[in-house]
């Protein structure tokens, strides 16, 4: 665990969640908030940042406490820790923007049951020192945020003709309203999954 190899390992930890194990497009985890809040790019970004905050903080705390938590009560302990950070993020969002808080609604509180977070705590943070645990969680958080943004921006552009609330096409544009309704979430997610599956397939073919 000295110098160079650790550096390379850290980078890998960070990149894992962003690309190779992207929680939305590769692992298909946390679909409930993914589909529900991605009606606009701003909501997607808010949800992504909130989830990243909870992921990183809980991963660091779980990692710090990993030698002290008996395995019989580890899940209960992780949930308490995650719930704490969700409560904190709930207060913080209210303090920053009530508009965003209203838009995200119950999905902020529901971060607590987002399987990405418990999954990270159990599969990674509980077995690794704080720094790799933090980087891995940060990567997952960024990957999740990018996934939400990919959905949110496409849905906002098609369904409202805007991006981050800025009008893109002018008054003649007839919004494709279904895209900001729940079915639109499935359509766009399906297309993105198709795209990533196609990329993976193409890579496979190229490599022989």
């Amino acid at each position: 665990m000295s110098g160079q190899p650790l550096q390379a390992g850290n980078m890998e930890q960070l990149l894992e969640g962003i690309w190779k194990q992207n929680p939305v497009f590769v692992m298909a985890l946390g679909m409930c908030p993914t589909l529900a809040v991605t009606v606009s790019a701003f909501n997607a970004l808010g949800m992504g940042v909130a989830t990243t905050f909870v992921l990183v903080c809980s991963a660091v705390l779980v990692s710090l406490l990993r030698h002290h938590i008996p395995k019989e009560v580890r899940i209960a302990t992780y949930i308490v820790i995650i719930a704490t950070f969700v409560t904190l993020v709930d207060y913080l969002i209210q303090a920053v923007s009530l508009g965003l808080y209203e838009a995200l609604g119950a999905f902020i509180q529901l971060i607590v049951v987002n399987c990405i977070i418990l999954g990270r705590a159990e599969a990674h943070a509980a077995k690794n020192p704080p720094l790799p645990a933090m980087l891995n969680a940060l990567g997952m958080g960024i990957g999740f945020t990018l996934g939400l943004l990919a959905l949110g921006s496409v849905r906002e552009i098609l369904g409202a003709g805007k991006l981050f609330g800025i009008d893109l096409f002018g008054a003649q544009f007839q919004p494709w309203v279904v895209m900001v309704l729940p079915p639109g979430g499935f359509f766009v997610l399906g297309l993105w999954l198709l795209f990533f599956a196609w990329l993976a397939k193409r890579k496979e073919v190229h490599h022989g």
Binding site: H68, P70, T77, V80, I81, L92, L98, E102, G105
Partner: protein, 232 residues
Amino acid sequence: MSSGSPMNLTPPPVNSLRLVRTLMLVTALCGGLIVAVWQWTQPAIAANKKVVLERSVRALIPQAAEIVEYDASSQGIAPARGEPAEGAIRFYAAYDKDGQLAALAAEGAARGYADTVRVLYGYRPDCECIFGIRVTQMRETPGIGDKIITDAAFLKNFEQLDVSVTQDMKSLYNAVKTVKHGSKQFGWEIDAIAGATITSKAVGRGINDSVQKLLPWLKPHLAQLERKGGTQ
């Protein structure tokens, strides 16, 4: 833990005291964190809520210079402190720059098509009418239900909506009612938006549920509200 030996299948005894101690320590730590952040963010949250509310009330009552919050209940009216008590209704008295009552506002809520629709309505004692509404929360279908915010013909319903209280101050002469599009006859009826009847009805029901309780409680005390600070 797993020694690999087939003889050793029973798990080692668990020290419950250690489990309890760990959980207690972790929850204490987490509790402390929550309290600290709550204390730190509370002023900002309260200020945010006030700004949002004042913005909505000002949009309804442009001449408002100061907005005072009150709670009304069957016991009468009192300046608001914290969250309204069970059964009480919060309302807002808007005073102009001379300290005279400009108008009152309160919120009504009812279940719409997708979620609760909340509207803030402005009330004027002189005409005993609602003179405007502002949707404060809704998640109705874009392009259909959300017309309650923009549809000019629908909003015209609320320019002078009759909510007069009977002489005995027990109820309203006529309940506020949303009627089918094109069939409005009376001053207390709301003409629904064609195609968005459920959402239109939610607006009417939310307002009606609120005024039916609030106005009979409020009306006997209106004189106290005429000037700013009249209730102290």
